[in-house]
């Protein structure tokens, strides 16, 4: 029997040039890693069609223990208040190696 442990999966969609800042934020707040996918989309700030690579989005996924989530969300909320377009959603996931997600990067 494989045991499953609950964690939180934070998803952020934004323009690709935000990448460095988001990664910096994850490192600052103790994430153990992150995954980035190239995306396109549409929303209140218009079409991000990834045509010619000029207007690509990214979808960032970060698995964090519940206790780290709050501070990350606060930091994201501050960015949104400054005008950045971030589409954010959190979901419940289960993992088999919980210790992996509590070791901060670097």
């Amino acid at each position: 029997m494989v045991t499953l442990y609950p964690e939180k999966l934070l998803n952020i969609i934004s323009i690709d040039s935000m990448e460095d800042r988001l990664v910096e934020m994850f490192k600052k707040y103790g994430a153990s890693g992150y995954t980035i996918l190239r995306a396109r989309g549409e929303g209140s700030s218009g079409l991000q069609a990834d045509i010619s690579g000029f207007d690509a989005n990214i979808l960032v996924k970060v698995i964090v223990p519940l206790e780290n989530l709050e501070v990350l969300l606060e930091s994201i909320e501050r960015k949104i208040n400054k005008g950045y377009h971030l589409t954010v959603f959190v979901s419940d996931v289960e993992v088999i190696t919980p210790e992996k997600f509590s070791k901060p990067l670097r």
Partner: protein
Amino acid sequence: MSSLSNLLLPAVLFFALGVIARLIRSDLRFPPDLAKILSIYLLMSIGLHGGYELAKADIMIALNSIVWALILGFTLPIIGYLMLVATRKVNPLDAAAISAHYGSVSAGTFLTAVAYLDSAGITYETYPLIMLAVMESPAIVVGLLLAAKARQTLAAKDGSQVSSISDNSGAENQSNFGSLLRDAFTNGSVVVLIGSMIIGAISTPSGMNKLFPFIDDIFMGVLCLFLFEMGMVAARRIGDFRKVGLVLAAFGIVMPLIGGLVGVYIGTSILDFSVGGATLVGVLAASASYIAVPPAMRLAVPEANPSFYLTLSLGITFPFNVIVGIPLYHNLAQALAV
């Protein structure tokens, strides 16, 4: 060369084909990374070529060109900003973001102008190429400064709320500003262009000879492909014309006319370039960035609406310059040269 024959250049025709492909809603899509590959090639080729020529250039004229490129890059956005604020159609932050684009340059427009001059058999100096490299960055800096000013203005009007946000994030903003400044000067296009120029200047001639087929022979074909794609990109934005409104759309034509006039004047009367060289300076001043500046403004002025500056720079000014502007600035340069 009449402006009609400009329209018969393959490069310009491919631009038109790209526009048409979008207008008839063709499903033609270029792979997202192709434009990036093509523009790396174009910058590298023109940089190597220019550097090779510049090795023989007059250092004083080169320095003088750089100074005037900086002056253009810093002044044009301020002119644009004042005009935009005067229209009262956009808020100061949008005005800052939009006008930054006009201090910078469009390499695609510059290359089309080079193709235009080449095919008309008109010679030109290499110095405008240095100006192209120099002008990528300062406009971003001016944009940041104008946006900072705009935020102050808004904060003064708005009172507590906005300033409290600034308070919260004063330190962060500070560091952001620093990193944005660094970004402006280490921008990818600038690195490829200046790097290639230096390599072109210092490489052994035998090494360069092996490169010429790559940078010369297929250049025009790659430019056509690039403009084909840019036509599609521009056409996507032309549709947003209505969203930005008539006054803003007019700005997208008036601003390059002002830039073109100023640029041609500086090229002819101050830098003492030939008709071809002055035309290129006009094109630099008239063109608006659509590669380097938009992402910089997204980060630096997130409050501004990207539809405004993308539509103006890509959807209006770029096609205007490619089709109408280039022959116009050329005629202007001829008139001033007399």
